[in-house]
């Protein structure tokens, strides 16, 4: 059975990034080789990126390498960790640092089944105390520990 390899997907993704960058850059002032405008460098770079990504995609397609275990995505930890970082971003904006720490650690522990809420809570409390000591007390940073700002 032939499946679309992850390698090919990444190559297509990169080509897409390059193409988007090229389209956007073409609206900038290109200038001339003597007086390069802000668009010159990005246009060249994104064109090269598209070419390279296409070449990589073609090789990936031709090779049809069997999917090795190292090129599989582990969805659970991936989503849990990325979700944890995103959760931190949202919570710190709305409720402040301490709730954000609980959210990031709570979500991060979802990467493994049967982690349990107790160790997660203990970790979160330790992290809060540690961060408060280090950032607020030692370094004198002003971080919003708690807030309510919608």
């Amino acid at each position: 059975m032939k499946t679309i390899s992850l390698r090919l997907i990444v190559a297509v993704l990169l080509a897409g990034i390059g193409l988007t960058a090229l389209v956007i850059a073409s609206t900038y002032d290109i200038g001339s080789a003597r007086r390069m405008g802000p668009g010159y460098f990005p246009v060249v770079l994104s064109a090269v990126l598209v070419l390279l990504a296409v070449a990589e995609g073609v090789t990936a397609f031709m090779k049809r390498a069997p999917e090795s275990s190292s090129s599989k995505i582990d969805w659970r930890p991936l989503l849990a960790i990325l979700g944890a970082v995103a959760g931190f971003a949202v919570t710190i904006a709305l409720f402040g640092l301490i709730p954000a720490f609980f959210v990031v650690i709570g979500l991060a522990t979802l990467s493994e089944p049967r982690y349990g809420w107790k160790p997660a809570a203990i970790l979160a409390i330790i992290t809060c105390i540690g961060a408060w000591l280090l950032f607020s007390q030692l370094l004198g940073m002003t971080l919003p520990l708690f807030r309510l700002g919608f």
């Binding site: 003597r34 390279l52 995505i73 710190i92 493994e112 961060a131 971080l143």
Partner: protein, 515 residues
């Protein structure tokens, strides 16, 4: 010269600088010991902590984190056969067999000694050659700078082994990401998508933390779960025999020389230095079969080489402002954040920064040696500590670190994007190091190219006809052609054999000499 060195030590020996040097070495080793996190992750995680310090102190601390992280990686590779950093992978080859023979303590001690010797040789080279290279750099034209940076980028992709095309993709993507923000020359906004935060460009720390920190953590969660160290490592077990000490003298001298030389070249870096030193020892040994089974030379040579290279890597970074590796580009970023513009004028404009940093390297390496004999028990315990209790805290620290840089929620969301990209890249064999290097060099590369083309009246032939610029460009072109040709040849060879080349983890790409 003498007065400069004295100035350096006077700077480094203030109680504050000593304390932060110590703290840096300690924290760097701590993070380096953790699986998957190397000195690069250590530097970018702890970079926000240094914002509140004086520039010199901040750099001294970052330097300590850097070589502390390198040493921490070696501890993990000897005890667990899990290299924390790529350059420590070579140390695995003989270090882990030694640990299995019950000589882990000795292996760790040799590592510390060899690191110190290699580091010292590198520091001497940095002191001796740094100022004269900076003087040379003053005479470079924008075209020369452009060609030098291009050479650095090409070398980073072609020398390290691995897929050239993937490396090039990473470099170009990095350069492209470097153009995000306000164009220096015209003041136009590029790729800002109406985000106010993007006008200053993409945050280097957010990017580094995403592609190195977050993606490494995600892959380590499913990685090794059982980590057992059977042996107890005590300070007493670290004492080497007289015979051991006699054996390591030659390898250390050779390793330091090789490392010191390679470290200063763009793109080569600590990994190649360690491999080269190891290969040299095999070639010179009378009994080649001992290697891979716990030969003490197999630790001493690569460890002294990678530490010498770690020090001389500062030569291009500090003297002409061109970093040769991803780690060095983060250091360069740190310099700029602290308002010190890198380039050939750095040594004369900021002598306390340059000489103080060098002096602190020595003190830091001494700390490393002294610190690790009594603290080895602590590092072993850190290694055995279940990873499930470590990674949530690491993620939390990454978040707060990135957030505190500019108190920006936007930067934290960038970490999500770069984390996802980094994980995809890592799964498919793209190395994130050229991405960072391209990102940091990008704006400088563009500015120098624009100035060079303006001076050449838009005629690229004028750049090529200049002897220095032309030969630098020619070397880059040759390296690229050679690498692409080699890639095609290995592809054909693999086809002929009727099987596909599969990406192997661990040691690869470096041909050890036969025998």
């Amino acid at each position: 010269m003498i007065e400069n060195i004295l100035l350096g030590f006077a700077t480094a020996f203030t109680p504050e600088n000593l304390a932060y040097c110590f703290l840096g070495v300690f924290l760097g080793t701590f993070i380096g010991v953790l699986p998957g996190l190397g000195s690069l992750a250590a530097i970018s995680m702890l970079l926000p902590l240094t914002f509140y310090l004086e520039p010199t102190t901040a750099l001294i601390m970052l330097g300590g984190i850097y070589y502390g992280g390198e040493y921490g990686g070696s501890i993990a590779s000897i005890l667990l056969n899990l290299p924390g950093t790529p350059s420590a992978a070579v140390t695995c080859l003989d270090g882990n067999p030694m640990a299995k023979q019950g000589r882990a303590g000795v292996a760790l001690f040799i590592t510390a000694i060899a690191s110190f010797v290699g580091g010292s040789v590198g520091i001497v080279a940095l002191m001796g050659f740094g100022p004269s290279i900076a003087r040379l750099g003053l005479g470079f034209s924008p075209a020369d700078y452009f060609a030098l940076m291009l050479l650095g980028l090409v070398a980073a992709v072609t020398v390290g082994g691995g897929s050239v095309i993937k490396g090039l993709i990473m470099v170009v993507l990095g350069l492209l990401l470097g153009t995000v923000g306000t164009d220096v020359t015209t003041g136009d906004f590029r790729y800002t998508f109406d985000f106010l935060e993007l006008r200053d460009g993409v945050s280097l720390v957010a990017m580094a933390m995403g592609v190195f920190g977050v993606s490494e953590v995600i892959s380590s969660i499913t990685g090794s779960k059982t980590r057992k160290i059977s042996e107890k490592v005590t300070a007493r077990s670290m004492m080497p025999t007289r015979q051991d000490l006699r054996k390591i003298f030659g390898p250390m001298a050779r390793g330091s020389t090789i490392g010191g030389f390679l470290g200063a070249l763009p793109g080569a870096g600590t990994v190649i230095a360690a491999f080269m030193a190891y290969a040299t020892e095999i070639r010179l040994a009378k009994d080649k079969t001992r290697f891979g089974k716990g030969a003490i030379e197999g630790i001493a040579a690569p460890e002294s080489a990678n530490n010498a290279a770690a020090q001389t890597a500062f030569i291009p970074t500090l003297t002409i402002g061109i970093p040769g590796s991803a780690t060095m580009s983060i250091m360069l970023g740190a310099l700029m954040i602290h308002g010190i513009s890198p380039g050939p004028l750095l040594i004369s404009d900021h002598p306390t920064v340059f000489w103080g940093l060098i002096a602190s390297f020595w003190i830091g390496n001494l700390f490393l040696l002294v610190l690790n004999i009594p603290l080895i028990g602590l590092w072993v315990r850190v290694l055995q500590f279940p990873y499930k209790y470590i990674y949530p805290v690491v993620i939390a620290l990454i978040c707060i670190g990135v957030f505190s840089m500019r108190t920006s929620v936007f930067d934290v969301s960038l970490v999500v994007i770069f984390g996802a990209l980094g994980y995809l890249f890592q799964r498919t064999g793209y190395s994130p190091a050229p991405l960072i290097l391209g990102f940091v060099l990008g704006p400088m590369l563009e500015e120098n190219l624009r100035r060079a083309m303006l001076m050449a009246r838009g005629d690229p032939m004028r750049l090529i006809s200049d002897p220095l610029t032309g030969s630098l460009l020619a070397i880059s072109a040759l390296m690229l052609v050679w690498a692409v040709f080699g890639g095609i040849r290995s592809l054909i060879a693999a086809r002929r054999k009727g099987r596909v080349f599969r990406h192997r983890r661990g040691l690869r790409c470096w041909p050890l000499p036969p025998g």
